[in-house]
Symmetry: C2
């Protein structure tokens, strides 16, 4: 994972650009469904609310995907952006914390994110093995590290209670996992080589509250 890919030849891509990538792909996916074959940055601008200039700048961070005088081929661009984000590969995920939210996320991943596979589910002993998700049993947290030694695991979804968050995180990091999808409303302390994507529900709700009062 450290070859000199398109992403790395150029100087580091900025955070705002990366944050926009999934949305580009999502819109292109919609266009594909509607049978649209090509699109110009101007049309995409109208659709997405970014300037055409920004769209072209964003894409040119990764390569020249368009054609002068023509625009972009929708399916080609969709695929390219997918590749840039690594969505051409498969990922094995474990779910840590299998309450309502953990179950919802496992269901979501299973149903909508085909290249992400639920490899294992972990929770405290009294919840462990009392429930089951498809063909995956819920195991005791204590067996997490051993499990990761035995099976490939690329990321962990953290859906444990606030109070368990840092401890669960430490366990997962200790097991060698490098990607965390964090739903715990806590900012986790992490080593540098582990990437954590936060879904801070509480922050999000409070921001909504702010805007209602503007």
């Amino acid at each position: 994972m450290k070859e000199n890919t398109a992403q790395e030849k150029k100087k580091r891509v900025s955070k705002p650009v990366i944050k926009r990538l999934p949305r580009y792909r999502r819109f292109l996916g919609e266009l594909m469904k509607e049978g649209v074959e090509r699109i110009s940055s101007a049309k995409l601008s109208e659709l997405m609310g970014y300037t055409a200039s920004q769209i072209r700048q964003d894409l040119n961070n990764f390569g020249a995907f368009g054609q002068q005088g023509y625009g972009y081929k929708v399916d080609f661009l969709y695929e390219q952006i997918g590749n840039i984000m690594g969505l051409d590969k498969e990922y094995y995920i474990i779910v840590v914390g299998f309450g309502r939210l953990g179950q919802a996320m496992a269901g979501y991943i299973d149903q909508y994110e085909k290249q992400f596979k639920i490899a294992g589910i972990f929770d405290v002993p009294d919840k462990a093995s009392s429930i089951e998700f498809k063909d995956v049993y819920v195991s005791d947290m204590d067996s997490l590290k051993a499990f990761c030694k035995k099976h490939r695991v690329d990321m962990a979804v953290l859906t444990v209670p606030r109070s368990e968050a840092q401890h669960a995180c430490d366990t997962v990091v200790d097991a060698g996992i490098k990607g965390i999808w964090n739903f715990t409303s806590v900012d986790l302390k992490l080593p540098e080589d582990v990437y954590c994507e936060n879904v801070h529900m509480s922050d999000s709700l409070h921001e909504l509250s702010y805007h209602l009062n503007e």
Copy 2:
């Protein structure tokens, strides 16, 4: 909600600042729990990873909450930021879509977000009234508008399937709701006076995938 509050005397506060507010409050809340009474921007900087300069700039968008030579009183600042975000008020929420995710969110709000009250729950007829959350029955979507006429409703949590998202959104907007907490992985089309806070799970997961491949 249009008085000349502190937020509005000064020129419009920028989006990045607003996004940081909930996180400030969260950290201050932690400090309070630990019994810390005062904190300087320098200490907070260490803790949160923003520069001290940025912290002072951010706060001074809303007023002068500190004291030269002393720093900030933790509990006072916590409360002020809460006020700025409108967290001194109560909000009535309806949950639209009561699958696993809707149930998880209702549970989360009920347990952790005390000033947000679950006023009603809506889903399609065959799910309606088959389940129940605390003292709230699940009603048919068709009754949503009438419900909002009768009861105060400040926001709607959308947790319906992708395919139903825009329709559910239209229903909610038609019922006069001005705040939407959107979990549907779809960008909703909205009138200008409705604010929508998105939790795009799919985008978030794909961003994580990107970073794993850097």
